[in-house]
């Protein structure tokens, strides 16, 4: 018998917030993964909602291409509000 598939677990800690990745676990199927995630990651009211997704369904960027992937935003300082000089005397801007 092969190893159970790996699942990534995401927990929403309270209403209004995004689900955040908390870790992973092995389980026989989706439903079992959800039950196990509750027991492994939310034993102390850490969450109000859980997502589980099979790790092999996730496409991730590779650390090697980090530079080329994020380079394009590196030299665009004008995307930041602090690039623009506005006198402190002008309110609400």
């Amino acid at each position: 018998m092969g190893e159970w598939p790996l699942y990534e677990v995401f927990v929403r800690s309270k209403r209004g917030l995004n689900h955040v990745h908390v870790g992973s676990l092995h389980a026989a199927d989706d439903e079992a993964a959800l039950r196990n995630a509750r027991d492994v990651y939310t034993r102390r009211n850490e969450g109000v909602s859980i997502w589980v997704v099979r790790s092999d369904a996730i496409t991730a960027s590779s650390p090697d291409e980090k530079d080329s992937l994020f380079d394009p935003s590196g030299d665009k300082v004008y995307r930041h509000p602090t690039f623009y000089t506005i006198p402190g005397s002008v309110p609400h801007l």
Partner: protein, 312 residues
């Protein structure tokens, strides 16, 4: 199985404590419909909103201004995408939303049906139009529907650059020649009233406001937000050295707020009906862009289909 009454009670309780409704929660049909309409209209506005400024990208006066304007228009496209994906959590499809924009079945903000006649308009739009949008959007970060609120938080973070680049552009022009200063004043004269209309009709003729506020979708009334915008903008106009084209605009010391005139509401309703200066052009352009992009979508699907077997 909990019944309808239990569902409703739970929903009411979440709303009453100003908490958030999340996609898998039960919600009344009318709440869902209202949200779909509002979020879709908001998304469409971001997408159509690229056009008035996009008009000037190829004619920006310097490389610096061109890079800034490109970045800003690109942000607006991103805002549209954040909002479409928030709407999709309510069970509508992206294709249906796009179709409703293209067929004119769903609306977008009336402000984008006004033309941009000079480069000063790029500055004025950043200052006044994005400024009014910020006034509307900041309270929406606390809207009762989780995915909508989270999209608004992302958007609001990016809007600050939009408003500041506009104001900085206008400051630069105001330090220029008399002709440049006139261009700024002329632009502000054209955009002032349409900017005030962005908050929607007066409260007494905005029938859905009360229900939206009871549901926590809207957190402030149209008139309250309009007042706030005027109060914030007046000192900015003074610092810039432009006048606002409203003879009845004065400080009311008793209220601690400005008194100001009412926009021409008949004009707003005419623009919403489709009779604004650029309605036809905006939709025609959007349809053309959509059709011209068909080959890209087809090519991407064909490429994915070809890749698929190997990757399983």
């Amino acid at each position: 199985m909990p019944g309808q009454a239990d569902h409703q009670a739970h929903f009411d309780e979440v709303i009453a404590r100003h908490d958030r409704i999340e996609p898998r929660d039960w919600m009344p049909d009318a709440y869902r419909r209202t949200l779909v309409r509002q979020i879709a209209q908001h998304a469409h506005s971001e997408i159509i909103g690229m056009q008035p400024e996009g008009n000037w990208i190829s004619r920006a006066p310097s490389l610096r201004r061109k890079a800034i304007l490109l970045a800003k228009v690109q942000d607006e496209a991103g805002h549209g995408l954040y909002l479409y994906s928030a709407a999709e959590t309510l069970g509508v499809s992206r294709d249906d939303l796009v179709a409703m924009l293209l067929s004119g079945k769903q609306k977008y903000s009336s402000i984008f049906n006004y033309p941009t006649l000079s480069y000063a308009d790029v500055g004025t739009i950043g200052w006044l139009v994005d400024g009014a949008a910020i006034c509307n959007q900041v309270p929406l970060c606390r809207t009762s529907y989780g995915p909508y609120g989270r999209a608004m938080i992302r958007i609001c973070k990016e809007e600050s650059f939009h408003q500041r680049q506009g104001y900085e552009l206008l400051m630069t022009m105001m330090r220029g020649t008399p002709e440049q200063r006139d261009m700024v004043q002329e632009s502000v004269n054209r955009f002032w009233w349409p900017s005030l209309m962005m908050f929607g009709p007066p409260d007494e003729s905005s029938p859905n406001t009360e229900r939206s506020m009871a549901w926590g979708i809207k957190r402030n009334s149209n008139d309250d937000l309009r007042q706030k915008f005027v109060d914030m903008t007046v000192p900015q106009a003074q610092a810039l050295g432009v006048s606002l084209p409203d003879p009845s605009l004065t400080w009311n010391a008793d209220r601690g707020q400005h008194d100001f005139g009412q926009p021409d509401w008949d004009e707003l309703f005419a623009v919403i009906r489709g009779d604004g200066p650029c309605n036809t052009q905006r939709l025609a352009h959007r349809r053309r862009a959509h059709e011209d992009g068909a080959w890209v979508r087809e090519a991407a699907s064909a490429f994915a289909a070809q890749e698929e077997p190997g990757h399983g």
